[in-house]
């Protein structure tokens, strides 16, 4: 194991996989930076610093800096994948699915099905998502609920650097199109990661980040850290929380959730997207249907309100589910009789 940042785990995994497999190709806006300038290539290496040095190592054919044309980027990834390559495309902000959704949703996700199972589309679409930077309504959104609802896509949301390693490697080696959602506020977080060049985490396996037994909390991404804080606070009071990090929302590890709720009978799902047709409602509904008899309290979702993401610090803080709000929800389901 070695310690590194979330963003470094992304970059190092890409380097390792590009080294291993000549079919791996990366593309995106400013992922090289400096193209066509006096400064020359490698002026930036991606605005999230997740492609620094790739151009020098692998050259212009496999490290493709693109114009601001997200539909064409996603479409090129689709075409590269159909033609036998393994593209890893960066959509700078997840919010930009607005200008490129067709290629993700109606093309990549559906090729295999529409073509009768006779082709594969091994594309990875990396996207930075989430709030926390006061980047306002068009640069802060969580989009996993939209993409999880789309058959044909796999959706991955790593929370820790080690999960980045295992899940991104799996994503690149996976033969289906994978959406890889990177939370902006986690890029700088660090942790121990596996150095095994074949370390993969299979999709559909949640991680139990806290084991308790009194209540089940399900989350992922940035808010998982807040859930863990709540769990740790409550542990001091002798209340045990199971905190489940989904890791992938499609496929989803229903078993891990149901197994926990069968023991706890109480569920809180903490989700960064607005409440309607959300991951929180998805999981609450699944549990209500499949663990009905075990439920001792109404399953609760904790989401931001049904509003766009606001700009100002005070507003964005109030928008995102806080430790306090999560704690209140957990206490509410615990106190329900």
């Amino acid at each position: 194991m070695v310690k590194m940042m979330y963003r470094e785990a992304i970059l190092s995994t890409i380097v390792e996989e590009m080294t291993r497999d000549p079919n791996v190709v990366v593309l995106g806006e400013d992922i090289v930076g400096g193209m066509g300038t006096a400064g020359g290539p490698e002026a930036i290496g991606g605005i999230w610093s997740t492609s620094i040095g790739l151009f020098g190592k692998f050259g212009a054919n496999r490290v493709i800096d693109t114009p601001i044309s997200e539909s064409a980027i996603m479409g090129a990834a689709a075409g590269l994948a159909l033609a036998g390559k393994r593209p890893v495309a960066e959509l700078m902000f997840a919010d930009f699915i607005g200008v490129s959704l067709d290629q993700i949703w109606n093309q990549m996700a559906k090729f295999r099905y529409m073509f009768g199972g006779k082709t594969k589309c091994p594309a990875v679409i990396r996207m930075a998502y989430g709030a926390g930077f006061n980047a306002a309504a068009q640069h802060s959104q969580a989009v996993h609920q939209i993409l999880t609802g789309m058959p044909g896509l796999k959706v991955v949301m790593p929370t820790t650097p080690n999960d980045v390693k295992g899940l991104l490697r799996q994503a690149i080696r996976d033969d289906d199109p994978v959406i890889f959602l990177e939370h902006k506020a986690l890029y700088g977080s660090s942790g121990e990661v596996s150095e095994d060049l074949d370390y993969v985490i299979p999709f559909g396996h949640a991680r139990l980040s806290r084991a308790g037994g009194d209540v089940t909390i399900v989350s992922t991404g940035l808010l998982l850290g807040r859930c863990e804080k709540v769990a740790d606070m409550l542990a001091a009071e002798g209340i045990g929380c199971d905190v489940i990090d989904l890791r992938t929302t499609s496929p989803i590890d229903e078993e891990a959730i149901l197994d926990s709720v069968e023991v706890t009978g109480r569920l809180v799902v903490v989700d960064e997207a607005p409440p309607r047709c959300s991951m929180a409602s998805d999981i609450c509904a699944t549990v209500a249907e499949k663990a009905f008899a075990s439920l001792k309290a109404p399953p609760l979702g904790v989401n931001p309100p049904h509003t766009p993401v606001p700009f100002a610090r005070e507003l964005e803080s109030a928008y995102l589910p806080s430790v306090e709000k999560i704690e209140a929800a957990v206490r509410k389901v615990l106190s329900f009789r």
Partner: protein, 323 residues
């Protein structure tokens, strides 16, 4: 360049297969046996065949909602296609895709596409793959005069220029997008090729109802693109003989328009006149092929009708390779 007798026969056969495949569909659709939206390519055969006869199976094409011609020209199996359109389990896509989603990636046919304009970026991706491989392969995006106004098509052209991708944008100008004239919808003085040129590409124009015009144009284009000079665009002026979709009342046509184009702009008639006039092939040669093709289509229909139907369980397969 003079085409060999074999090449001429093959080109004619390919065009005739498309024509008869679709004339037959046109009839069968009216009987209600075929479900879904079907867009017929009849009238444009010289484009698909003139382009694809100059490709290898390592070259890729990406097609449109009006895809039968491109699929057949690129080598998709006639029986598999007919079965697919009839919604059979034995269809090329197991009955899951239908007319608008026929593909055979192994043959370099990367899919018909129901989303107007979606193909061009996909073709650029395939072209970038070819560029990485460095073997001189190309990728072709077929687009209509309507699709040429879609943002994705424009992005793809700029993207191909910037990345020097061996992509070829073929614009089949059949004068209509659904019920609207290209003179209305294409702002550029009705000139699709010049607009592509302004994206920084070399362009060509050809007569899309004349196989020889398409063939000669494509030889030049392919030589240029295969040599690594970057992308290119070609506008072919052509005609569609049927409505936009089956059932279209075609009120947008002028009086006698359909008769006129069937008479003077039929690529099969023009081909026959050229080759018999020049003494390259005889009417008897072509008549024999015609008969063969008609039989082939008849067989395909019989097989399609008799083929296994898909079952409810089939709905669930082919979504993921692993889940």
């Amino acid at each position: 360049m003079q085409l060999s007798r074999e090449a001429l026969l093959r080109a004619y056969r390919q065009m005739k297969v498309i024509r008869e495949f679709e004339e037959r569909l046109h009839i069968d659709i009216q009987t209600g046996g075929i479900a879904g939206f079907t867009h017929l390519y009849c009238g444009q055969e010289a484009v698909a065949v003139g382009v694809c006869e100059n490709l290898t199976s390592d070259d890729k094409i990406v097609s449109t909602h009006r895809g039968h011609g491109h699929c057949l020209a690129k080598g998709c199996d006639v029986n598999g296609m007919m079965a697919e359109i009839w919604g059979s389990r034995e269809g090329l896509c197991k009955g899951k895709g239908g007319s608008m989603h026929i593909a055979d990636v192994d043959k370099g046919m990367m899919g018909a596409n129901g989303i107007v304009g979606a193909g061009a970026p996909i073709a650029v991706g395939a072209a970038l793959s070819a560029k990485i491989d460095g073997l001189g392969h190309v990728a072709i995006a077929f687009s209509g005069d309507g699709a040429c106004n879609q943002g994705t098509t424009f992005e793809a052209m700029n993207f191909a220029v910037v990345t020097n991708a061996p992509a070829i944008f073929i614009f089949e100008n059949n004068h209509y997008s659904e019920h609207t004239g290209f003179e209305y919808a294409v702002g550029t003085n009705n000139d699709i090729a010049s607009r592509a040129e302004a994206f920084g590409m070399k362009i060509w124009r050809g007569d899309g109802t004349d196989f020889f015009s398409v063939d000669e144009t494509m030889r030049e284009v392919l030589e240029y693109v295969r040599a690594g000079h970057g992308p290119a665009a070609v506008e072919f002026d052509t005609e569609r003989f049927f409505g936009h979709f089956e059932g279209d009342p075609q009120r947008y046509r002028g009086p006698g328009e359909l008769d006129r184009i069937r008479e003077t702009r039929d690529c099969l008639k023009r081909f026959r006149m050229s080759v018999t006039g020049a003494g390259l092939l005889t009417d008897a040669d072509l008549d024999a092929l015609d008969a063969e093709v008609l039989q082939q289509i008849e067989d395909a229909v019989i097989k399609a009708k008799a083929a296994d139907r898909p079952t409810a369980a089939d709905v669930l397969t082919d979504v993921y390779i692993s889940y």
